[in-house]
Symmetry: C2
Subunit: 362 residues, 2 copies
Amino acid sequence: MLNPQSVDNETWLSRLATTSGEWLRGDGPESDIVISSRVRLARNIAGFPFVSRASADIRHQIVQLAQDSLNSPGQPSRRFVNVETLSPLDCQFLMERQLISRELARSDGPRAVVIADGERHSIMINEEDHLRIQVLHSGLSLEECWKECDQLDDQIEASVPYAFHPQFGYLTACPTNAGTGIRISVMLHLPGLRLNRDIQKVNNTAQKLSLAVRGLYGEGSQALGDFYQLSNQVTLGMSEPDLLGHVQRVVLQVVSWERKVRETLLRDGRAKLHDQVARAFGTLTSARTISSEETMHLLSIVRMGLRLGLVSNLDVGVINELFIHTQPAHLQKLQGEELEADRRNVARANYLRQRLSSSSVS
Amino acid sequence: MLNPQSVDNETWLSRLATTSGEWLRGDGPESDIVISSRVRLARNIAGFPFVSRASADIRHQIVQLAQDSLNSPGQPSRRFVNVETLSPLDCQFLMERQLISRELARSDGPRAVVIADGERHSIMINEEDHLRIQVLHSGLSLEECWKECDQLDDQIEASVPYAFHPQFGYLTACPTNAGTGIRISVMLHLPGLRLNRDIQKVNNTAQKLSLAVRGLYGEGSQALGDFYQLSNQVTLGMSEPDLLGHVQRVVLQVVSWERKVRETLLRDGRAKLHDQVARAFGTLTSARTISSEETMHLLSIVRMGLRLGLVSNLDVGVINELFIHTQPAHLQKLQGEELEADRRNVARANYLRQRLSSSSVS
């Protein structure tokens, strides 16, 4: 059931901003390195043109159809957010939270997102495809993501007929998504591989194994905070369980690679690493103005230091939360006002000092 | 009187290392920008060849002669330090303290320095000239330095005949020092002029006015910690009071230039400046390993911030002392052992954290 919208979306989103979000909760399997797992399915409703060829009127019908389907009895409690009427700030906020894509945030016309309580899944309506169903869990838990996603998919399909071809499988706006329509992504935190300059090798290896490596916000985005997304590029000709198994195996290889690099860094240059971590923490707690990029970079080093035991008196949950709370839209939601970049950088520095003041690096 | 040498030089120097030293005491006129004033006289004893042409035996005689003269009744209490037998560490220590020149530290053969209690003056024996009498005071106090230096000169001349030529004045090993044999130097702290990139203009202006601009340790040394020495280049054809007046006027111009730049920086970019100061302090109190150069650079920014009221809870005396205590030889004397560069950088970081732990930046 879509929840009764007892408060307006802006208020609801502002409340959401004060929480941590699923994708950076920082627990689950392999959570020293694996931030989150995500499975998303691309689906289109039979009898309608793809979004890029649909008129505003048809897009509106699609939103209505999806909303009705998701609102049927037995469905979990969810929030319906009309993205078309959302402010640019709130769009960016949902993007930072990994609940909508950059494409949905930046396009126009009738479009929406439906968000489950606790942010464990979200369904974008009228992104590239009519429906993008995504399930997001902390840590490495692709199997659980897939199960939940598959179930959601079945629930929706029960009331909405999908565009499906016996030979090509699920039809999608872009042929690269056709077939299973699945994209399996894992967000990894790889500061060690960046520090020892092996990150390009990871990239090359992943590509050879038909996986893409992307930054924090997907295609074309930078690897802010040493976060890298690994995801499948092929969706056709392999079953979902095979694809899941393949991504899982590669991820575990990268995880063990990153762990080895960290061990080596610790063994051969513990003092230097400790210095980098301590300086990063020092800057985070001292700066009077700081950009989002620098913040992510410094938090990344501190997070690694924390996981390696170079830092004590500091809760990894706080660091994980700061990754998201210091991003531009989150920061403005938390401050309760829109701020230009300069004032944002000052507010960010104040917020960091306030949140980290009780901590210290050993 | 040379003091009774109740402890050996090494012990005496180790005790000296724990104190602050005259040149960075940080008070006196214009002490926000003027660190210290120095007047030195180059003198040679009649009847002896210049140092560069003197045999070891003759150099030894010169040391003896100077020592006897300085040891005569009515002379102030002083320490006699035989530089020939001093360890390289102690030589560097005295150089960091501005009590001996790099030349005296690095040359060889019989040579010495005689240091007044409180380090207000020192007399180098067998540097480039037989005698180099220097008086060093905190702040801008050239007149006082000159008076004290002149008096010392008279006291020595009472028992030692100087090489003097009716036309050329005092004869010196290098002709650029002949005449009055005086060098008047003022150590300035100019972080503002470095930040706004006017420091080269200061250099050009000074040169046009026949003044030299040098770094912390004189000729050929770098401007570590934004410390710059301004000194006269001409010693012939002008009286000592005229030279003093000239240097004083130029220094006051540079002081007012630096003050204006700081005001502008504060007016147009207070937030940015505050950020730079706070980050510098953050790094000084966080780093686990830090070089002498970086320390000087960061202390320089903090010192300016302190003088501009951007920092509270911090004693300028502590910062001034850290400038000298964190230099390589001082640090090793304070640690009580010789340390390689890597271990020195770790010891320096520990020392900084310990000294600054009770302070914070507002």
